[in-house]
Symmetry: C2
DNA sequence: TAATAACGTGACCATCTGGTCACGTCAAGA
DNA sequence: TCTTGACGTGACCAGATGGTCACGTTATTA
């Protein structure tokens, strides 16, 4: 059952597209600026990725003269977190509860929840 | 450039696979139990999805007699949150500052982003 | 106006992906 | 033992995806 965030998930599935979003975190960029950031891809390749991101509403564009400015839209990422990742977050914190002594030693946010002794 | 979490992203890109993970949140399930949850798919279709999830380490399996028990592993989801979503979270909270009133309205069903520490 | 720089479109192709099926293996119970 | 039920493997197919290119349009600037 594809939900309405499916386009977003599909867009995020590609490493190049995630890299583009990473670049846009520091601020809007023109298409050529983005293209130059990926020397191993052609202009069209990058443009296609931008288009996919645009259809997922992860990137918004506005034309400025003869160039196009692409800016990041964080809302869909937030939605994915709220509606999906968050529910699993509850689960991994309850895991922490189960192995509480461990968690309190590790100090919580430490990336060492590897222990699953059940 | 595909990072080591690429398999996880790719696995999450499919709505059926996300649905499987959703089912596993309530506890481990045998393969046939999962198959029965998706009447519109054949057994092999579901099994292929499980295999993809297994390769991404999102699902762990153990054999019990002639049946196989599939259980959820939240660690990769947590990693994705920590290494990727979290960085955008900073961005959307600064956005929140900028359009604060809007954010407080829209923040309804959100599990209140309590984790903001780095 | 002419040249160039920035972007868009459509066609095209190889590979990946989601799905099916035929057939085979292994374990439990009559 | 023989049958049945649960799962696995490999082949196969249609459609999606990631990538290229030739060519066209629009806007700046000399």
């Amino acid at each position: 059952m594809p939900d309405e965030l499916d386009l977003v998930w599909k867009a995020l599935a590609d490493p190049t597209r995630r890299a583009i979003l990473d670049r846009l975190r520091s601020g809007p960029k023109t298409t050529t600026e983005l293209v130059e950031a990926f020397p191993n891809l052609s202009r069209f390749g990058v443009m296609k990725h931008i288009e996919v991101l645009r259809e997922a509403d992860l990137v918004q564009t506005r034309d400025e003269g003869r160039q196009r400015v692409n800016s990041l839209n964080v809302v869909p990422i937030r939605r994915i977190y709220e509606r999906w990742v968050g529910r699993f977050e509850e689960l991994w914190s309850s895991h922490l509860l189960r192995v509480k002594e461990d968690a309190e030693q590790a100090g919580g946010p430490a990336p060492s929840p590897r222990r699953r002794r059940d």
